[in-house]
């Protein structure tokens, strides 16, 4: 196999079942019973149900679902903080499920790291010692780990707070410590378990920007768990929608908004302004015969919202061109149907 096209993370048929004899549930017809019925019948609960996906190098992969959909369990299965019941997890070509306790510890110390919803900071340690914790347990000398800690502390914008205790920082600042701690070991993959759910909306937006900025700077592969669709659409290169432990749809933000796989996903995206996500590629239509094809030209990757004013003011169809090729035209009608919904009747 060519290692260059190998995905960084590859998950095949992953299951996590809680309860007595969980292996028996995997793949059986019972696994698809409604939750209460399954519990009644076997005493088991399926948290993750036959999940498969790939994440490529440098990608931000978001798993979105409501509470209880199994997304937090899923992300813990990837690093075996929760032991999966069945399935495969490959990380950079290594079979995680086959790793020994020793090997798993090595991987956790160097290759991947995690940011938690409730931060999980140690209250009795100052910011520096929290950030340096992973390096400390790996046996790095005090001066070396403090040096590295200071680097990541300034990377996440916490200079000046390194000697504070976590309780002396605001929630947003605490999660910056969590970010710095996860970055300290310079991992290849970072896992985020609803890291901003506990924060105020304004601070949450700052932190999302921070993640986007960090992603540009450090180019880590990220798996990001959230229950917030706006957050998912904002951060994700690709998004997986999870429901009752299974993936309902995996796709780019545009794909989810434009072509939801079922009512469940459609319900999610309904209230989200499509014009913020969709590009012209999705709304261009074939020109009708005799239509004016002399209008302005726009690229298919332009987001509808950004093109709206220009198209509405053009007074004639705007051409969507991919290089030399005409993909279609867009008029005020198409723009309006994205912003205000399609014509009725």
């Amino acid at each position: 196999m060519n290692s260059e096209i190998d995905p960084t993370i590859s998950v095949h048929g992953l299951w996590k079942v809680y309860g007595p004899n969980p292996e028996k549930i995997v793949g059986s017809a019972d696994a698809f019973l409604p939750r209460a019925e399954l519990r009644e019948k076997t005493g088991c609960t399926v948290a993750v149900r036959d999940v498969s996906f790939d994440v490529s190098d440098g990608e931000v992969f978001v798993v979105m679902g409501l509470s209880g959909s199994g997304k937090s369990t899923l992300v813990r299965c990837l690093t075996r903080l929760v032991e999966p019941t069945a399935g495969e997890v490959w990380l950079e070509g290594e079979d995680i499920r086959a790793a020994s306790t020793q090997r798993l510890r090595e991987l956790r110390r160097s290759r991947f790291s995690m940011v938690f919803q409730h931060f999980g900071l140690l209250p009795h340690r100052r910011v520096t010692d929290n950030v340096a914790y992973g390096l400390e347990i790996n046996g790095m000398s005090k001066s070396a780990r403090y040096e590295r800690a200071m680097e990541v502390i300034s990377l996440v914008g916490l200079e000046g707070n390194e000697n504070n205790y976590p309780s002396e920082l605001s929630g947003g600042m605490q999660q910056r410590v969590g970010l710095a701690r996860a970055l300290a070991s310079d991992p290849d993959v970072m896992f985020f378990d609803e890291p901003f759910s506990a924060l105020d909306p304004l601070i949450r937006r700052d932190m999302q920007q921070e993640v986007i900025r960090l992603h540009h700077e450090v180019k880590k592969t990220m798996v990001f768990i959230t229950h917030d669709l706006a957050e998912a659409l904002k951060l994700g290169d690709r998004i997986a929608i999870m429901r009752d432990g299974a993936l309902v749809q995996v796709g780019t933000p545009e794909e989810l908004v434009a072509t939801p796989a079922d009512d469940y996903v459609a319900n999610f995206v309904r209230d989200f302004p499509k014009s913020h996500i969709l590009t012209l590629r999705w709304i261009a239509r074939d020109p009708t015969s005799g239509e004016d094809l002399g209008g302005p030209i726009l690229a298919p990757t332009v987001i509808v919202r950004d093109a709206a004013r220009q198209i509405l003011e053009a007074g004639r169809p705007v051409r969507v061109m991919d290089g030399e090729r005409l993909l279609g035209v867009v008029t005020a009608d198409e723009i309006l149907s994205v912003i205000a919904g399609p014509h009725h009747g």
Binding site: L81, R109, M114, F116, Q117, H118, P123, H124, Y133, I137
Partner: protein, 666 residues
């Protein structure tokens, strides 16, 4: 008005299952009472104080057989004696240091000046200077009371027991905190050790370890390991899982997570556990005087046995001072541990480095002086304060007995004839089988055959012990004391629970009341009421009330604001609010208060055997004193355990039922 009732009914939930059960119990009670009265005097299984049954002789024989084989049996020679001698060595080491002279030296290595300086320094460093001043003043008072050496014996024994308790309790507590299965395994053992009246360990332990410091330490350990272990387990479990998980996610080993994440965060709670361990140990060390442990407890026991009120006041006061000093110091130390998670520093922490060195230097000089000079070794003065305290107590008692005799006798008589005698005579004169049947049925109605079986087994063992009648005497006293305790608990607890102001005033007193060693409660009541059952019962009420009051108050306080608001907006007056909303919602707390009240009271009623309460407690004490009653004393100990188990299981079942009710409501 109709509206208000409707709302109340909604809030308080369905009553039917409870009232049905209540009706069954009412019927059961009426049947038991009427049959007991009709058949009174039949099959009451009485036994004279000096009479023995074959079981008692057998137990005496068993204990003599153990004594005879002590020097030949490999188990004794290799295990028991090793344990005994190493504990003795440890205790003797501490005694040589602060309380007793040795063969070559008639005074301890460190005299009073040195001990006071060490206490002052240690408390100043770990707690605060203010508490250190209190501790130094307290210890000097011990000397002024003329009880320096006895106090140091008590301190040495307490320290020995605390060190061993922590050495055993903390590691096992950590294990219990980490492994729920292990905790499940040991919980019944801990329950048993804590529920049983401390009195009953004494005899079996002496059987194996003889009387003296080793036995005293071991009985103390039985009582003081459980709090250390439990609180450590709670402390470990309380550590937010998110921090542990984060640490594991970064590749910590289990040991690293424990050492760097869990233990540091658990430290504060563990220090609280050390406080409780110390208080439990002090309480038990004083009671261990009954098996010849040296110290303040022995002074109290001797004074109680000779009804020397003045002397018992002296020693009682010394125990109270010791308890206050130990409690305040460790509480302050625990409060200080918390600080390390922020930069806010308490004012008292401003002890500079140079002050520390100065303190250390002064302490070293004091230790040297107290080692070399007699004036610094033996507390000067002839315990003048002690003589004064004794004189005041004696004259106060004399005055009371002269002038208030009508009041105290009146109280004694009202309670004796109005409450104690009727209950006791019904229980003692009832045929054993009616009472036994009623108890077993109670168990069955509450929790089915399992509880019924437990009760039946307890009753069978009571019958075999040959002490049914004495057990009923003890049960009667326990029920009376528990009744008063529960009434007091609900009344005062409601008051405390409803008012933050009252809470602020009363809670420190209740807290202090809970840490006092059980013994000291007998002293004032002995002065007031002389050596009677009533003294024991009142001491038991005072001993048990703080726990009951606090449980009820916390129960009342935990009723959600929204519920009380709804009731008030429906137009309830205060009385309706208390009786229809707050007390019913606090049912489980009240049931637990009844449970705790009974357990505490049983422990104290038994100790009351020392001051003429009769019943099983008297037999246990008599068993210590007279060789031929040893077997009977052992049997009485077993009978107390059986009563304790029955009372605990039945009241726990009541509390659990309350719990089930609460769940169906929601």
């Amino acid at each position: 008005m109709a509206n208000a009732t409707l709302v109340h009914e909604e809030i308080i939930a369905p009553r039917t299952p409870k009232s049905l059960l209540g009706a069954k119990f009412a019927v059961l009670g009426v049947i038991w009472l009427s049959s007991a009265l009709i058949l009174r005097g039949n099959s009451t299984l009485p036994l004279d104080r000096s009479s023995l049954t074959s079981v008692h002789t057998w137990l005496s024989g068993l204990s003599s057989a153990i004594d005879r084989n002590r020097n030949s049996n490999p188990f004794f020679v290799n295990t028991i004696d090793k344990i005994r001698s190493s504990i003795n060595t440890f205790v003797n080491l501490l005694q040589d240091a602060i309380s007793q002279g040795t063969a070559t030296r008639s005074v301890p290595q460190i005299g009073w000046l040195g001990v006071v300086a060490i206490i002052g320094l240690v408390v100043a460093l770990w707690a605060s200077i203010r508490v250190a001043i209190l501790a130094v003043a307290g210890f000097i008072t011990l000397g002024l009371l003329g009880l320096w050496q006895e106090s140091m014996d008590t301190l040495a024994l307490t320290l020995a027991a605390v060190v061993l308790s922590l050495l055993i309790g903390i590691p096992f507590g950590v294990l219990a905190g980490l492994f729920p299965k292990f905790e499940k395994l040991i919980t019944p053992v801990l329950d048993f050790a804590q529920v049983m009246p401390t009195f009953v360990y004494l005899t079996p332990v002496t059987l194996f370890f003889l009387i003296g410091p080793a036995s005293a330490t071991i009985v103390t350990l039985i009582y003081s390991i459980p709090p250390a272990l439990r609180i450590t387990a709670v402390a470990i479990r309380e550590v937010p899982w998110s921090t542990v998980e984060a640490s594991i996610s970064m590749g910590s080993t289990r040991w690293q997570a424990l050492r760097k994440v869990q233990l540091p965060q658990a430290k504060r709670t563990i220090v609280v556990g050390i406080n409780q361990t110390i208080m439990a140990a002090l309480s038990m060390v004083t009671i261990a005087a009954l098996i010849d442990a040296p110290g303040l407890g022995r002074v109290v026991v001797q004074a109680l046995e000779t009804l020397n009120v003045g002397r018992s006041f002296q020693a009682g006061l010394a125990i109270v001072i010791m308890a206050v000093v130990l409690d305040r110091s460790t509480t302050a130390a625990a409060a200080k541990v918390q600080i390390a998670t922020s930069h806010k520093k308490p004012v008292s922490r401003r002890v500079t480095r140079s002050t520390k060195w100065l303190g250390l230097a002064i302490t070293l000089v004091a230790i040297y002086l107290s080692n070399v000079y007699l004036w610094a070794s033996q507390f000067p003065g002839a315990g003048l304060l002690g003589i004064k305290v004794a004189a005041i107590a004696d004259s106060a008692t004399g005055w009371i007995q002269l002038h208030l005799v009508t009041v105290t006798n009146g109280l004694t008589n009202i309670f004796s004839y109005g409450l104690i005698n009727p209950i006791q005579s019904v229980l003692v004169d009832a045929p054993w089988y009616t009472t036994a049947a009623a108890l077993v049925l109670t168990g069955y109605l509450l929790k089915g055959t399992r509880l019924a079986a437990v009760v039946a087994i307890c009753i069978a063992i009571l019958l075999v012990s040959g002490l049914w009648s004495d057990s009923m005497v003890t049960l009667a006293a326990t029920l009376v004391a528990a009744l008063i305790t529960v009434v007091l608990g609900i009344a005062v607890g409601t008051w405390v629970g409803r008012s933050m102001r009252v809470d602020r005033i009363l809670r420190p007193i209740l807290d202090a009341g809970q840490v006092m060693p059980a013994f000291v409660y007998l002293v004032p009541f002995l002065g007031l009421f002389g050596a009677t059952r009533f003294t024991a019962i009142m001491a038991a009420v005072v001993y048990a009330s703080p726990a009951a009051i606090k449980l009820v108050a916390d129960g009342i306080r935990s009723v959600p604001e929204s519920i009380t608001e709804a009731a008030i907006s429906a137009g309830s007056n205060t009385w309706q609010l208390i009786t229809k909303v707050q007390l019913p919602s606090a049912r489980r707390a009240i049931a637990l208060a009844i449970n705790q009240g009974l357990i505490y009271v049983l422990a104290m009623v038994v100790v009351g055997g020392l001051v003429g309460a009769g019943g099983l407690g008297y037999l246990v004490v008599a068993g210590f004193a007279q060789e031929n009653l040893k077997g009977k004393g052992l049997a009485a100990g077993v009978a107390i355990v059986m009563l304790g188990i029955m009372i605990d299981r039945i009241t726990q079942a009541v509390a659990d039922r309350r719990d089930v009710h609460a769940k169906t409501i929601r």
